[in-house]
């Protein structure tokens, strides 16, 4: 999976994080008089990351990760805890209110 995800995404993410992507493309030189014409798609695209565009987000997703045994045990443990505690809390709250009346 890592190979499929590939160096490209990692490279892009890491270079974004360090803002090494060409400054001009990533943050266009917006001087005081340079009010952009946002009716022009190129201008809009020059201001957004590809992954920020709604159409791209709708079609591209992070895939599901493989959950290790440890992670599954953690998630199930927490889920059982939530459900069990919720039942106890609801019963206790009903009893508390009932006895108060």
């Amino acid at each position: 999976m890592k190979r499929q995800l590939g160096s490209k995404v990692d490279d892009v993410k890491s270079s974004n994080a360090k803002t090494k992507i060409g400054e001009k493309a990533f943050e266009p030189d917006a001087g005081p008089a340079a009010k952009p014409d946002l009716k022009h798609p190129d201008v809009v695209l020059s201001l957004l990351e590809a992954d920020q565009v709604v159409a791209a987000k709708q079609r591209m997703h992070f895939g599901q990760r493989k959950l290790s045994l440890g992670v599954r045990v953690l998630l199930w443990g927490l889920r059982i805890y939530v459900v069990a505690m919720l039942v106890i809390v609801l019963i206790s709250a009903f009893q508390a209110i009932h006895s108060a009346r």
Partner: protein, 474 residues
């Protein structure tokens, strides 16, 4: 990368995974150009303003930096001032009335520091992935775990929303305003904020309202607190709380557990995405989150200080509601102080109602892949806005129904929020350590050490609070 089951099978752009490459320079540019939406254009406009401010920063360091920060603050301030909601402020008030100045002053600061560690991670997640928290959980963990997380969020959010409207009703009740009018005013403000069709405008309106959380500061000043004692307590954490140790423990656990609630994690990440923040904005996002935590801690402490006169007069405020607090304070801090206190509770309820309803709507839109941005007009994203308004209307209606189980809701709302926290924190930590999602922005050693320490404390507090509440209620 394997596709999750809820993915569209079509990959018309020829990419099977997200990329954060700049859109104009990417191979997708030609395809994307024909598919731009109103939301994209609005977001680009916001990005252009940030670019212009960065350009100005090169010419005038101070003014430029201020402009950049002014443009990029918002989600962090809103999430922390939203968390200073009606029940929280009443809880701080009860603390001041019961224990006076002492241990709980620095303790509140500590809880917000812990909240800051957690919320900072949501800034990075949002800025790097451009995905909301619910969407990421569904993508990375699948529908099964996703619906569990959503269930926790939606139930917790709705019940909390009800308590916000109780706060709104109680705050305006001090001024003799009828409950139906008070709740109607609350709904009208929520509706007015979303009719703008712009995230930026919504954010500024809500921040404008949120700053009225500062009303507790003049109320505290009018209470004439002993500032020397406040300073000493911040340094020495004394005097320690005394009295029924079980109640003290319950209050400590409740304060820790209520510092970070699931809605905060979901809300801030989605707001960061809707604001259009990018990886290079993470520094500003950290500033925003820190500013929010500092302001919220200061206003929380102000609420404690405002009610200290009740402690000095030995008044039992453990069962007080907002109006009762204000009425009890009136002879001690004057009518103006009491009115400020009541208005503060009203404001806290309003801002939290807006933020929590928006959090539910974001999560709904992300999971069901419908439009989920405040940059979309009402007609384009009606499921998103319907969820937002529908949850607010349902909570408001419940508050007005005679004999509705409001007492029951108040009793369990904090417990449910705390119970839902451990799984939410587990998902957050797993995501922020997922290199395939975060790239180089994964947690480092010290970030993980701090986050895990805070998470363990929060989980233990949640567990302890849950168990203690159950024992207490039984």
């Amino acid at each position: 990368m394997k596709k999750s089951e809820n993915h569209s099978p079509a990959q018309p752009f020829g990419l099977a995974h997200p990329t954060t490459d700049v859109a104009a320079a990417s191979p997708l540019a030609r395809d994307l150009a024909g598919l731009l939406t109103h939301e994209d254009v609005d977001r680009a406009r916001d990005r252009w303003r940030v670019s212009r401010a960065r350009w100005a920063e090169r010419r005038s360091k101070i003014f430029g930096r201020f402009s950049v920060l002014w443009l990029l603050v918002g989600p962090g301030v809103l999430v922390f001032l939203g968390e200073n909601d009606a029940p929280s402020m009443l809880s701080y008030s009860a603390t001041g009335a019961r224990f006076g100045i002492g241990f709980f002053i620095p303790f509140v600061v500590l809880t917000f520091a812990m909240g800051l560690v957690v919320q900072e991670m949501t800034v990075r997640l949002g800025a790097v992935t451009h995905r909301g928290h619910a969407e990421l959980i569904f993508d990375r963990f699948g529908r099964f775990w996703g619906f569990f997380a959503m269930g926790d969020l939606m139930i917790g959010n709705f019940l909390t929303l009800v308590t916000e409207f109780i706060g709104i009703r109680a705050g305006l009740g001090f001024f003799g305003i009828r409950p139906v009018v008070a709740v109607g005013v609350g709904l009208a403000v929520v509706f007015a904020a979303i009719t703008t069709g712009r995230y930026w405008t919504w954010e500024r309106i809500t921040m404008g309202l949120a700053i009225f959380n500062a009303l507790f500061v003049p109320a505290a000043i009018l209470a004439h607190p002993d500032w020397g004692a406040v300073g000493r307590s911040l340094v020495t954490w004394t005097p320690l709380p005394h009295g029924n140790s079980f109640d003290v423990l319950l209050l400590i656990l409740a304060d820790i557990g209520a510092t970070v609630t699931p809605w905060m994690i979901f809300f801030q990440q989605s707001a960061v995405v809707d604001k259009g923040m990018q990886p290079r904005d993470i520094g500003a996002g950290r500033f925003d989150t820190t500013l929010g935590a500092v302001l919220a801690a200061a206003f929380g402490i102000a609420a404690i200080l405002a009610t200290v006169p009740l402690f000095h007069h030995g008044i039992d405020a453990s069962q007080f509601e907002a109006a009762q607090f204000a009425e009890a304070l009136e002879p001690r801090i004057g009518h103006v102080g009491a009115a400020l206190f009541a208005l503060g509770i009203f404001e806290a309820g309003i801002v939290a109602a807006i933020a929590i309803a928006t959090s539910s709507a974001y999560a709904f839109g992300e999971v069901f892949h419908t439009g989920h941005s405040l940059n979309r007009p009402l007609r384009d994203a009606w499921p998103f806005y319907s969820t937002l308004l529908g949850s607010a209307c349902a909570a408001a209606a419940l508050v007005l129904i005679p004999h509705a189980p409001l007492e029951f809701i108040i009793l369990i709302v904090n417990v449910i929020a705390v119970l839902a926290m451990p799984p939410a924190l587990a998902f957050l930590l797993l995501l922020v350590n997922d290199r395939e999602v975060m790239g180089d922005q994964v947690n480092g050693f010290w970030e993980n050490a701090a986050a895990i320490a805070v998470t363990v404390v929060l989980i233990c507090a949640g567990l302890g609070f849950g168990v203690a509440t159950v024992i207490h209620m039984s």
